[in-house]
Symmetry: C2
Subunit: 626 residues, 2 copies
């Protein structure tokens, strides 16, 4: 079988090579002229100087009458002065000061007198109540520097200075060519083997954030000629071309050889993870980049390479990356073979920022949707210890992190429902929820890594839920339990229960799917195994671990397994049969420090609201009494 190894070039070297190549190939900023009134958000190619003054004539700053200041000297309450019609001209705000006049008396200070005269009780000095020429902008003054992104106010200042058109950086057009035999346009009913093409939508959004424009071409199958033709078409229309998937060195990976045949491949294979199989090329003076098919890999290459390629066109003003110093919530191991980009969730607890690594799989796009930042683990590092301080590059403003409630622990879809209701009630609060299991929740609250944790822990000896575990973990208090809900746990099995499973001991003879170590449901499983005198080693699939109830349900529905423990609502969602095993308490453990925190109170109030009850009753299997 054909297999080629890629390069493993450190990113720094790869970028140095590639950008030197692109500059030599003539990649650089272009400009275009646009009306200043439509230039908001565009980047100025050059400094702009006012062509005229603003105001460009002496303008009345008030409604009133224009006068000669010298005529009004000496007017006072004791000796009012009468303005005869020859001594004034009526002016409104913005009107030019008539020739020979040099000040304005405002209408509030005028008293009507006979024969079209006015009486005044005080004089004005020259240019009083007049916006003199150039008050705002003087002709010749620099209004905006080169490379400035025009704000609404700047557009106004340009127009005020007589600038009707501005030369701005042209926004490069980026062509996106999705490739792959298995790729289909967005659908809610893909066939087995069909992969929904969503990467191009992600790229398009990112490209627009980088100040460029995107054009997505139709999906091209994995045929050399077809991809080659699509590339030629895109090159004729675009400034930059991205070829999505096919960037590795497998049987159907043509990107590299096609770019080679039309131009130059500068780098193929980066020492980064995810994102290794990228192709950095150039054809006819235009960057052509092969992006990996895995979405997370592709996003990393977009962030690390494509954003910089697009910055060569100068269409967005350079923004320094925003970083924050954070404490790492758990140990992180990385390889010396590459620089790794780890998505992290951020929270602020006890005056510090905490970074919690998210799932690292290259196919897990949801790790990006939940991420608040990126932790870069340099190639020469084997990782970080829990508690170490690290620099995290922000993906969203830190102010959002400040208002984030960190809820961790056992998975239950109800947490998402509470988050959603909370968001509708308290728009400024965010919740970051992660699934680390009930034992993970206790550890996290104990180590100050979460405001609160969700737990359902059965004490095999007492048959009691949660209390004994918390007493053991917090012998001196330090955490409180807030009552959550009761819920039904049971065995989820294929629709119609074809294997005739009746009770837990029946899993001995089928393919089981388990939850991860530390999960409350795993503890329940081990309790049931012991109670039934079974042995874990003999259960097929005991080592097949999922992190959520829906994850277990999905595998049973897909036929990867025959049975697994989970809550009723998950079984119902997947239309599985459900064999109830027990009712359990799903409660919330709260660090005593945060017991009266506004976000914690709001979370609990939302949990106990009628709206939440209604959602839970629709999901089924919950008991919200008390």
């Amino acid at each position: 079988m054909k297999h080629m190894y890629l390069n493993n070039l450190p990113l720094f070297d790869a970028k140095a090579l590639y950008f030197a190549h692109l500059r030599k190939a003539g990649v650089s900023a272009r400009t275009e002229t646009v009306p200043a009134a439509d230039a908001c958000g565009r980047v100025l190619a050059h400094a702009v100087y006012a062509k005229i003054c603003s105001p460009h004539y002496n303008a009345s700053a008030m409604d009133g009458v224009a006068v000669r200041a010298a005529d009004t000297f000496g007017a006072s309450e004791r000796s009012p002065l009468t303005l005869t019609p020859q001594m004034y001209r009526v002016v409104d705000t913005g009107d030019p000061i008539p020739d020979g006049f040099d000040a304005v008396i405002m209408v509030e200070d005028l008293t009507d007198a006979p024969d079209g005269c006015f009486r005044i009780l005080s004089g004005v000095h020259p240019w009083q109540n007049v916006r003199q020429v150039g008050e705002d902008v003087c002709m010749g003054d620099m209004i905006a520097l080169s490379d400035t992104t025009l704000t609404p106010a700047l557009c106004g200042a340009l127009l005020a200075g007589g600038i009707t058109e501005v030369e701005v950086r042209r926004r490069p057009l980026v062509g996106i060519i999705p490739t792959g035999d298995e790729i289909v346009p967005p659908t809610d009913a893909p066939q087995t083997g069909e992969i929904i093409e969503f990467n191009s939508a992600v790229f398009r959004g990112m490209i627009e954030e980088y100040g460029a424009r995107a054009k997505t071409y139709p999906i091209v199958p994995d045929r050399r000629e077809a991809i080659s033709d699509a590339l030629r078409t895109a090159l004729a229309e675009c400034d930059v071309v991205l070829i999505s998937a096919g960037s590795s060195a497998g049987r159907d990976d043509y990107t590299s050889e096609i770019i080679s045949s039309l131009g130059a491949v500068v780098v193929h294979g980066l020492a980064i993870k995810p994102g290794k199989p990228a192709v950095l090329g150039e054809v006819g003076g235009k960057p052509v980049i092969g992006l990996p098919g895995y979405p997370v890999s592709a996003i990393v290459v977009m962030t690390e390479i494509v954003s910089e390629v697009l910055s060569l066109y100068g269409a967005t003003a350079p923004q320094p990356p925003q970083t924050v110093r954070a404490v790492l919530g758990q140990k992180l191991v990385s390889s010396l073979k590459y620089t790794e980009y780890v998505r992290v969730a951020l929270g602020r607890l006890g005056g510090k920022y905490l970074a919690s690594p998210l799932p690292r799989g290259a196919g897990v796009i949801t790790s990006f949707t939940k991420a608040d930042g990126i932790l870069t683990v340099a190639q020469n590092r084997e990782g970080y210890e829990a508690g170490e301080e690290v620099d995290v590059r922000l993906l969203r403003p830190l102010s959002e992190t400040e208002r984030t409630l960190i809820v961790t622990g056992s998975h239950d879809p109800l947490i998402d429902e509470v988050c959603d209701l909370l968001r509708l009630r308290h728009a400024s609060f965010r919740v970051s929820s992660t699934h680390v299991g009930s034992m993970g929740a206790i550890r996290a609250v104990k180590s100050g890594l979460a405001h609160m944790g969700a737990i359902h822990l059965l004490d095999s000896e007492t048959g009691e839920y949660n209390k004994s575990f918390v007493r053991r973990a917090f012998p001196d208090g330090g955490a409180v339990i807030e009552r959550g809900v009761g819920r039904v746990q049971g065995l989820m099995v294929q629709k119609g229960n074809p294997l005739g499973i009746r009770e837990f001991r029946d899993v001995q003879n089928v393919r089981y799917v388990n939850r991860q170590r530390g999960a409350g449901t795993r503890i329940l499983c081990d309790h049931l195994i012991a109670a039934n005198g079974m042995r874990a080693e003999t259960i097929s699939g005991y080592d097949n671990e999922e992190y959520t109830h829906t994850g277990v349900a999905a595998l049973i529905a897909a036929g990867n397994a025959d049975a697994g423990l989970g809550i009723y609502s998950a079984a119902r969602m997947y239309d599985l049969d459900f064999i109830p095993i027990c009712r359990e308490r799903y409660d919330f453990l709260i660090d005593k420090k945060y017991k009266d925190d506004a976000m914690v109170r709001a979370f609990l109030a939302t949990l106990r609201s009628a709206a939440c009850r209604e959602r839970l009753s629709r999901m089924g299997g919950y008991d919200t009494e008390g």
Copy 2:
């Protein structure tokens, strides 16, 4: 003359009244359905749950062969195992795992053997190298909460979860009606009395920042019927209408009565500065707002009222305002009559943020282009002392402020040129430059309010520039002088010098325009007055003060004055005659602490660069020797 007084309603009360009215009138969020692939940047109306799992079938995570894990147990380097063709199926990344198979061995781990067999040196466990159903997203999982702004990654996650369309908040359409007899479309050659209509461009940009869409209607003259017709047209097409100018209570101010006649005026006149003459109205269930004609006033009403009105439509996710605690650089007096919004420049010096108030005139749009933040002075405060800590609402990211070099002092256009060149060389540095005169520069550096100051101070006794002043201000050192340029100061007079001015003493008999107290050029003026045995009180226009050389030149060119002191380049820009008076040193005073600061060094290096020399020689009147 007709004059009506407006209300002076505190903003809080005005908003309470207005928003209660709008809610009662039925103003609320509307939704629309858009393709998920195009929904980036839109705000979700509801929580979205995955319709399918992603992956939705068990997919190979690698190029290689699918096997039954059980077949491979026991393979090792010592006892390699041979996979016969019946034992495997070739799969590429993303291919479905064929029925009956449950793991993948990657191509790198296969050794070719005869008869289509492969040899392997280690086994795989069930589901190894397989992306099991739901690895990324499980059907039924909540992918995104209500009111979430969709990021590129979230759009990807939605599509991965089988969501092809999403219900998002409709972006309201805001109609803008510019009014006024004196208003003309953007031009670089307005006639006297014509005012360039730039407010609508500013509003448009702001409206888009608020997540809405804008439609600008043609300019309408100050006629009741015309404005009324324009409003009716806009109401038929838009969700919200803004009427620009005419919102006060003068002769030609019709906004309030027109809104009254068609619907309701809820508030007319706010206790805010700038922004007082705003009209908050409603017609047929749609907000109609009369904005003041002065751009700064209008921007304040946009920020304080219109942004909140638009937030009722839910088209942008609520963003908490970002604020920073800063030390006020100078005393600020405000009135008890209103809440005042003061634009401030921000800098970071000595570990603290410093806020310097910018010009407060309602017509000075450039105060917004230079502003980094807004200081709100509550109605019940008479102001703040210099050095007091205040909260500043940010207009740009704080990270930009961190990288801002603060240069203050004497005005010279060369500073703008250095800033521009600096920006082209060091994209991440920003410069904040303000004109406070040479004495102001010394005070600012001494009080730690600026990194560096520009000074040109003539010591009347010694005839020496700058040194003696700095020695007096910093008797123990603490600041150093870096050599800047030599420049020519002189009298600027009308083109052709119609009044036959020959030397400084001739200003006695003409209309003079002066610079502000503390400016080096003002000190030169006073020195010349004394040296010529003149008296300031007798010079007409001695009290007419401008802050910049171009400001003085503009007034002479406009005929407001006959002569003023300034530098050659300003005279040349305005095509004025110039009578040289002296050559002076224009130097930079630098706080010793910042002498080796990277931004300070970069500024000075840029000042001394060939590119800068070339720009200065084009401007004329500078001596860059040494």
